[in-house]
């Protein structure tokens, strides 16, 4: 299982995550933590005309959590809000290239998507009518 999880893709994204940092222009952000372990993730988004134009994250987490966030940012940039809001567990596992995770580790993998969706909801609240 360790071999399955800790493949190069995941370790690469853990050590050198994509889109890690802050956005100069943003209109939504959110933070949440995994209450069992105290790990936390922050997402910042720039939404324009119903599309996720830009996204960045920061956070502290395990390899699964950070790689999941990194791969997620790559997968969602430029996509419609509708598409992103429809993402779920199978998409996250597919991103990570993992068949299955134990329930505890699934929480680590899912935290970034949860926070990204919160950030998107915040951006829509801030800008109820997209131009």
């Amino acid at each position: 299982m360790a071999e399955d999880i800790y493949r190069e893709l995941i370790l690469d994204h853990y050590k050198h995550p994509s889109n890690f940092g802050h956005l100069a222009l943003r209109n939504g952000k959110a933070r949440d933590q995994n209450s069992n372990c105290g790990d936390s993730v922050d997402f910042e988004v720039l939404v324009k005309e119903g599309k996720l134009v830009d996204v960045a994250f920061t956070g502290i987490g395990c390899a699964i959590c950070i790689a999941s966030a990194s791969l997620l940012t790559e997968a969602v940039k430029g996509r419609s809000l509708q598409d992103v809001m429809a993402l779920g567990e199978t998409d996250i596992l597919a991103n990570l290239g993992i068949k299955d995770l134990t329930p505890e580790r699934m929480k680590c993998a899912m935290l970034p998507l949860k926070v990204l969706k919160m950030a998107l909801i915040n951006s829509r609240a801030a800008l109820p009518e997209q131009a």
Partner: protein, 426 residues
Amino acid sequence: MKPSWRRPQIKGSETVSFKDKVDEIRRDFPIFSRLERGKPLRYLDSAATSQRPIQVIRAVEEFYEMHNSNVHSGVYELSEEASAAYSGARKKVAVFLGAQPKELVFTRNATEALNLVAFSWGRANLKPGDRVLLTQMEHHSNLVPWQMLAQEKGLKLGFVRITDDGLLDEESLKDELAKKPKLFALVHASNVLGTINDVKLYGKMAHEVGSLVLVDGAQSAPHMRVDVKDMDCDFFAVSGHKMLAPLGIGALYAKEDVLSSMPPFMTGGGMIREVTEEFTTFDDIPYRFEAGTPNIGGAVGFGAAIDYLEGLGMNWVRDHERRLTAYALDLISGVKGVKVYGPMDPDRRGGVISFNVEGVHAHDVAQVLDEEGVTIRSGHHCAMTIMERYGIPATARASFYVYNAEDDVDALVRGIQRVKQVFGVG
């Protein structure tokens, strides 16, 4: 460093080596006949919950098979047997802690025991502006109930700070005691740092300023001789499941005069003297605090666990764990890129070792170790104020008990090397 099974040079251990004794002990624990991920089970998570020997499992089984009925007012033989088993268990736990049976209340666990003190003694005795002193190394179970009560009653909380070595800062303790708290609630042995606090000394200091003293013994009573009278604490909380007993049984010790003065925590059957439509008078201690049908089977198992521990001898248990902890501290802190938290002197700590591998999150450490059959815990261990103190999100934690030996530590160290290999660090 190679594992060594040499005969120990510890007084009183005469002829049987620790290794022989641990081999014998392991045969009493059915769980060690199973594998973990296809490898021998290296159970290093006893600070979360211990395993249980066959003697405890059989005692519970026998209770349900042969003596099961409710306690208290039954006049038939079966009920007399259940009542005798329940009060017998209370006596065993009380004697084990150096208490009188009437000073010993059965609870679900240490958490319930601590909540009992907050809800009963705390609500009845604390007034707005009163101070409750805690420490920065409390488990959430001895912090959150006081925070809740503080919000409800307008109390002020103080926290004794932790030194870089993972000890309680005695200067900070003196400063806080000078503010005259009404209660000092502190952990005896830390579930993260392993620190064993000198609760007798600190309790005496607290009594001198008129404070009562509550000791969270969840991580100490399983591992060392505890004598609540010698310690002179007012309250002492334990969890049975961390000391070989079944899940769902724990106990609160409170000094007779303190307990007698306390109102009930929960109310209902089994704790009353007389009930009319208008009013209720309550039973004597300790029954006043045990509303509803108690966990009789759990108490019987708790008694059997005490018998098992007394059979080993608590001095042996402490010697064994101190020796194993010294061995583990030496090996683990010697691995490049590994940071160990808490005091490095095995005389000042119990068999709990929190550590981090540089560049690897504790979850990932635990996951890779699991592949090697080594079961450790990762996270904040319900002690987020300690994580904050050290500026870390989590630690990996290995913890020992009577069935652990050097071979478990060796497997742990091999596993840590494997973690470093998988993550390409150090």
